[in-house]
């Protein structure tokens, strides 16, 4: 029964201590959340630790989920916090303040060339994503890879939809620039 239940129902049952319901919830989201954590730059060990921390927090906090936003966005928000706690003491990345035009030109705007975008392996995709500043990487992962809606993505990131869109556009342009420059490096 739990395999077909809605996310909200699984979390309601989890809040009552139903481990089977929570296990179904884990089955649904373990892989996407793990993929998100790896894309944010966590190594395999850190990603699995943050994954466990995320789901323990979700188990403990299932009763606080009110169903106003999607459970998926709620869970990604918890995962993002787990990742940030893990990397809090590490040196931050410098702010990237290039104009849209500069990012566009690096991405090939105004300088047409043959260009193909394809990611043949998860490692290749993670390498490319790893070249982006974290703020842009996480919005590209949530919106384009995981398929969250714009509103869900903004909710996870704690920013306005307009700000999310700006980051997304910059992230995509930067990613195009990386793809153009990095053909050899990706090997």
């Amino acid at each position: 029964m739990t395999e077909t239940a809605s996310d909200s129902e699984l979390l309601r049952l989890s809040a009552e201590g139903d481990r089977a319901a929570f296990t179904s919830f884990m089955n649904r989201y373990a892989a996407p959340v793990h993929r998100f954590l790896v894309a944010l730059g966590a190594n395999e060990d850190d990603a699995e630790d943050a994954l466990q921390e995320c789901f323990i927090s979700a188990w403990r906090g299932a009763g606080t989920y009110r169903g106003r936003g999607s459970a998926r966005a709620w869970l990604f928000t918890i995962a993002r916090h787990a990742h940030r706690r893990q990397y809090r003491r590490r040196v931050g990345e410098p702010a990237q303040v290039e104009s849209l035009e500069v990012l566009g030109e690096r991405a090939g705007w105004g300088t047409p060339a043959d260009f193909t975008a394809a990611f043949e392996a998860a490692e290749e995709l993670n390498w490319v994503l790893g070249q982006l500043p974290k703020e842009e990487r996480e919005v590209v992962v949530l919106r384009d890879l995981e398929g969250l809606t714009g509103a869900e993505t903004a909710n996870v990131l704690g920013v306005s939809v307009a700000s999310m869109k700006s980051r997304l556009h910059r992230g995509r342009l930067r990613l195009m620039g990386v793809l153009r420059r990095g053909e050899g490096a990706r090997g």
Binding site: M26, H34, E48, I56, L100, W109, P112, F115, T116, L168
Partner: protein
């Protein structure tokens, strides 16, 4: 290098660059969308770049669908959660 202030269809190339994400995501108002399409129809550079931008977004979305990661992540998580429950996590 293209002249990024070139105006085609009532929009400059740099305006199209700013609208591109919303255009590809289908989130532009109809009137702006029509202007962008008019520009793309008459500007080879923007038309080509817009196609590349769109192909990157499609590739990202396809990458997820084609990710046939083994179920080991889920399996290990469930093992760790079972242990956490056994250890008294409420």
């Amino acid at each position: 290098m293209a002249d990024l202030d070139r105006e085609v269809g009532g929009l400059r190339c740099r305006d199209v660059l700013a609208f591109l994400a919303d255009y590809v995501d289908g989130e532009l108002d109809q009137s702006v969308k029509e202007k962008v399409e008019a520009h793309l129809g008459g500007c080879d550079w923007c038309e080509k770049f817009g196609g590349e931008y769109s192909s990157v977004v499609s590739s990202l979305r396809r990458a997820l669908r084609e990710d046939v990661r083994s179920p080991s992540v889920s399996k290990r998580l469930k093992e760790r959660m079972r242990k956490a429950w056994d250890d008294g996590v409420e």
